[in-house]
Symmetry: C2
Subunit: 491 residues, 2 copies
């Protein structure tokens, strides 16, 4: 049985959509724009959560939980925030259904209308800052470093599994600080956490930078971001960390007594990554045979497929591999022994390739005689015959090697696809062609940014952090520019 997967070169977008479904990661539900995350996809997300959560805790953050509903009036308190979220939100207006008069169905009970409508949270700054007002009185209460793992809803019109869904899962950090400097340092700390996570766990190389004013989070003074490059030459924003200034403290009247005994507004940050990261993970590494997963996030790191006709052989194989499985599990390596007799080895090979299991071991009667395994790497598709003796060390070493290899491969691709361009002609050609990051001069105005976007669909993905001074001229207007910024078409 083949995988019937569209090739990336034929239709990258279709390849992605098919892969997400065929690899059992997620699918669309009966509710417009909302996805079902299937067990295999959710197992990857759980591994991402566990790694990130440990990193948050190492940097002194604690988890908490705030209500899913936001009263309409809260949303309105920060002007640019409501502007950013009001146009696409789920509004709860009633709290009861009842039987219809004709007895044929159930309808909303008009008598159960809420006095004030509730919004299903698109993000939680407002409800959290309304709470922080009660928690913060003095500099002794600061910093307050909280995170929550939650679902959020944004009523997107055009949705795609993981990349853009009406409901998605994420974490949102919300911190409160006594000074501007501390808050900025926090936003930058988290940016580093995100970049480290993306590179060390997801094996996705990222560029750290800040957003232009037009691309900032609604209510932020500065938005930091990590940007990744997908195989089709489009960029993907993988995480953002916002310095919110005193905007939310002012909107929700959160003041504190500072060390000098004076009242001041509290400084804030917020930051988040979401199930969108699943999209980045898939699109960075996978190939025409299916998923390629970094070993650190693979729910199954090693699969063992027995080759057998008779049950007696299966039992021999089981006896041979059992001590190895135990030894691998002791090292924290997850192993699956697929002893199903309802599927052929070829079917299983295909299935685990599609699902991106990093290492596959096959063992049949001849291997039993020879004390060997057939070993296949998912990243390179290389096969080799290896000795059973010392195989645990070999496997542990190979998992590290695969993690490193797919990161290097992605980094090489990314680096080869950052191009400096100095004329608008070349810019348009590059964006229309193979895409990638285009490093170009920009005059710093929203007008130029908008016009470039309208004409090419490319946006400024970020202003790289601490850019070198490399004065030049804006590709569109020719006005002076102090350094290059990164443009790309983006997900």
């Amino acid at each position: 049985m083949g995988k019937n997967l569209t090739k990336r070169s034929e239709d990258y977008s279709r390849w992605y959509n098919e892969l997400v479904v065929k690899a059992d990661l997620a699918e669309n539900s009966g509710v417009r724009g909302c996805m079902v995350i299937k067990p295999y996809g959710y197992a990857i997300w759980e591994k991402m959560q566990a790694a990130l959560d440990a990193m948050f805790k190492e940097t002194d953050h604690q988890n908490a939980y705030f209500p899913i509903f936001i009263p309409k009036s809260y949303l309105s308190k920060e002007a640019s925030h409501v502007e950013g979220f009001a146009k696409e939100c789920a509004v709860v207006t009633h709290y009861r259904l009842k039987n219809s008069e004709d007895g044929k169905g159930i309808v909303v009970d008009p008598e159960a209308k809420l006095e004030e409508e509730l919004i299903v949270r698109p993000t939680s700054e407002t409800i959290i800052w309304d709470t922080y007002r009660k928690w913060i009185q003095s500099y002794r209460d600061l910093p307050l470093l909280l995170n929550q793992w939650a679902n959020v809803v944004r009523w997107e019109m055009r949705t795609r599994l993981f990349l853009r869904t009406a409901e998605f899962l994420w974490q949102e950090g919300h911190t409160a600080h006594a000074t501007r400097e501390e808050a900025i340092a926090e936003a930058e700390t988290i940016l580093k956490v995100y970049a480290t996570f993306a590179e060390d766990f997801m094996a996705v190389p990222v560029i750290k930078g800040t957003k232009t004013e037009g691309e900032r989070f609604a209510g932020a003074e500065e938005t930091y971001c990590i940007e990744a490059l997908m195989q089709d030459g489009k960029a993907l924003q993988a995480g953002t960390s916002h310095f919110l200034g005193q905007n939310f403290a002012k909107a929700f009247d959160v003041k504190f007594n500072n060390r000098e005994g004076k009242q001041d507004y509290v400084w804030a940050t917020s930051w988040g990554v979401s199930t969108r990261l699943m999209g980045a993970l898939i699109m960075t590494h996978s190939d025409d045979n299916g998923l390629v997963l970094p070993p650190k996030l693979a729910p199954i790191q090693v699969v063992i497929v027995p080759i057998f006709r008779e049950d007696a052989v299966l039992e021999q194989i089981r006896e041979t591999v059992s001590p190895m499985i135990e030894a691998l599990k002791k090292r924290g390596i997850s192993v699956k022994f697929d002893d199903r007799d309802t599927q052929s080895p070829g079917f299983k090979f295909n299935e685990y390739e599609l699902k991106g299991v990093p290492l596959r071991l096959a063992v049949g009667p001849r291997d039993l005689e020879n004390g060997t395994f057939e070993l296949a790497r998912r990243d390179t598709l290389e096969k080799s015959v290896v000795q059973a003796a010392g195989i645990e060390d070999k496997i542990a070493g190979l998992l590290d090697e695969i993690q490193e290899n797919i990161f290097e491969k992605a980094r090489k691709f990314r680096d080869e696809n950052i191009r400096e361009v100095d004329t608008y002609e070349d810019f348009k050609k590059q964006i229309k062609g193979s895409g990638g990051f285009v490093s170009a001069h920009w005059d710093g105005t929203a007008e130029t940014e908008d016009r470039i976007q309208k004409e090419t669909k490319a946006t400024i993905r970020c202003i790289p952090l601490n850019p070198e001074a490399t004065p030049g001229k804006c590709i569109l207007t020719g006005k002076p520019s102090p350094y290059r910024v990164l443009f790309a078409k983006a997900y």
Copy 2:
């Protein structure tokens, strides 16, 4: 500084409400009926989640995630289910806000009305069984053993932190099986998992049983439950596991080819525990000084309070305890060294007593000289002076002892508060008096159950599993009854 905590004997309900807030577990939010779970409370919930999740995985369950919204028509498909949930649900009717005409605020945009209203999930049977229809074709696809960790909303009118809130966090398992027997076995397996978790981790003794028809889950053929007894003599339902028969498979047309090649409807279970367990945990063990936490769920298991005036002494203490802290952490014991100089030792003692930290070590200049610590147990409030040498073993042993001790204490209380009663007179006296579980004969009819509830507020908490045949006469009607059932007033 005292704790200003109402005594249990004065007002148990007020004691509970105060404790939840003062111990930093949770508080009410600005959204009616929705709580904020504070970091300390959430840390306990995280430990509960981790333990339960491991038990689910050991019993071959996988996690997944389904949409938060349920189309109104889905809810209507199972008749008793809609009956049970339609009267208290949050209904999303619109997907956009806009600026009001007078420019003074934001209002719901009447043009952004949903064609079909969406319900914020009160439970997920309907959306999940709508999905299972696509996943299940053959007996080879069964059993399907899934769980999700999620938030749910039920529009309760009278709410109390953790015990009854409009939004709460829970896990909901939803499994699909080829036979009736398998599904019943699954519901019973989960009941055992819940009981083991409650007793071994929460140190809360529970009684396993089944619900009467009137108390069953909306859509279930059988509801299994675990029931705990709180210190005020009221029962608390701590978890339920439902055998759903083929009700949802029929409502959502989920058929499969069985081993005989015939089409049949799939058999189902669902089961859940929620943040309500936090209420059970608090009310089972805590005392007039504050929380008492079982060591297995305590976010901080050991706190070390240095007694110092000069910084030099603090540094000496830090040097002395550092190797011990490292040694404890290596054993997986969580330790906090509270070196704040803004609070007195007495304040800290109070705080950790209020927060239920199982063991407290105090160390001052004299202890440094003598090589000793002052050790205080939260459960018994006993203090002793212990030698620093070998203290890690002592602490590990004591944590086990405390876990065991609070369970035994709760079990003794529970056992002393199960009383057999044979007349309605005695029944009413007992329920009005110290409460507890009243073991009594019942004629098996809903009418009798209802009348007893109306007259005494007591309900049948459960029919104990595999009841001994002990024929007798119903306390109310005198009709024959095959065995005793457990009545109580309940949360």
